[in-house]
Structures are given as C-alpha cells and as structure tokens.
Symmetry: C2
Subunit: 117 residues, 2 copies
DNA sequence: AGTAAATTACGCACCTTTTTGTAACCACGA
DNA sequence: TCGTGGTTACAAAAAGGTGCGTAATTTACT
C-alpha cells in the first residue's frame, strides 16, 4: 500500500484502519497500557513482524503512542493517544451498524437474530 | 481474505469496508443509481475484475443492491441499500476524525504543522 | 441486403505485484 | 539460556491486473 496521495480523508483513514489488525489492536489498547508481548498474547495469531508493522502504522497515524523505557530487557509500552481514544466510538458505531443490518445478510449463523423492524 | 469467523462485529465490518475501493464505491453510489460502466468512469483506475469483486462483496454485505435488466446489451444498475445509506454518515465521521486529528501527524504536506512540544 | 463491429457486464485463466509468514539474528542482563 | 522488542532476508500466499471470450442486439459500412 504505497502512500498514494488521496484527496479524500475517508480514503486516508481507511488506509490506516483497514485490514485485520488495526481494529483489534485498538480494541485491546482501549483496555489500557499494553506491552508488545501483551498484545501478542491478546492476539496469538499475529506474527511479531505484523505486530511491529501495524503498531508503527498506527503510531504514524497518531492513534497509538509508543513509550520506550531504558533497561535490562528493553521495555516498550503502547497506549492509545487522545485521538486514538476518540476513534474508538466511531469503530463501535460501525460494529453496531453491522449488527443492526445483520438481518439483511445471508449467514449460516446459529444465533437467532431478532429484529423488530 | 478467507471468511474467518470472527466473534467481533467490528472485525466483520472491517472485512467488508477495508481496502481501497469500498469507501470510494459507496461514495459514488451515494450520488444515486450507477451502472457498472458509470462506476468505472467514476474511478478509472479500478479494473473490471476488482469492480465486480468489490460490488459482489458489498452486495453480500447488504450495502449495495444489484438490479439486472434484460436487454440488448445487458444493463445492470447499482444502488445503496437503506443499510448502505446508514453507513455513509459513519464513514463521514471517520473522515472528519481524520481531518480533526491531522495536526498530530507527520506529513510531507505543504501545510505547515505547528507543534509546540 | 449482408457482413462486420460495437456495446454491456461480466467470467476465466494466466501472470505480476504486494502482503504476510518464517526463521534467524541482535543487544542486554538475570 | 531465556526473554525483551525489535530488524532483516527469504519464501509463501494473497491480491490485483490483463486480455480473451460471451450474449444479443443495434449501428456502420459496402
């Protein structure tokens, strides 16, 4: 994903939050400060390479803050920035929208979805 | 992107609206009914393969409605569904968020970013 | 009148590009 | 030697592009 210069802010956000990991990482970081290894434990199927890449991307986007502490085994902490925190409800809104529109979709899911409308 | 069964609605939405095209297609469809070739004109850099794949995905997600008309050269129309329309303001909100947090980011943009720290 | 070509919205096969995974390596100190 | 938080190189997988084929009918040319 080369940094194609897009005229549209929506395109730009999507470049950052698109994909499998960003929303998950934001979700876990919302719970509070996390270390690199915490995030790997939270999400065991991400490779360490992906985790570093995605964290870097979120950091560049101003969503995540990285704090490095000197020491024995290097310690690095990750947090959501204030901007990142503001993003959370927007993602939640998407999730709610998805649930709300679930009726229209064809899913073999076992969960009976009750819709009044 | 195999249909990994995710427990989280946000993950599921992201699977649908992630990537370069969905937000753009939604943007253009918001302007009203569009035909396949209209969408290609709106967005000249998408290939016909991608356009069909993405439209299919949005259709499956209940965001886009496809209407096929019998005839000479086959005619197909695409529209946002009511659910799709409800998605629009959520994407707009993401765009606004991006613009609002623009100050924190490091861009080679010509706009002078003033940082106090 | 007869033939050729264009049109629309794709599907399919092949090939290239991009993304992601894997494994090895780094420094440091317990 | 292990654990920390990485980087790098190489390999595998996934995504995406290109071009051809298709239907049925109109239009264009001769």
């Amino acid at each position: 994903m080369k940094d194609l210069v897009s005229r549209c802010p929506i395109e730009e956000v999507m470049q950052v939050i698109s994909g499998r990991w960003p929303s998950l990482l934001i979700y876990y970081l919302k719970q509070g400060t996390k270390r690199f290894s915490d995030l790997r434990r939270d999400n065991p199927t991400i490779s360490h390479k992906m985790l570093t890449l995605e964290l870097r991307k979120l950091e560049d986007a101003g969503i995540v803050e990285r704090s490095e502490f000197e020491g024995y085994p290097l310690r690095v902490e990750y947090d959501l920035t204030p901007a990142g925190l503001k993003l959370v409800p927007l993602l939640d809104a998407l999730g709610s929208w998805w649930d709300a529109t679930a009726a229209g979709r064809s899913r073999g899911s076992t969960l009976p979805v009750e819709v009044t409308e």
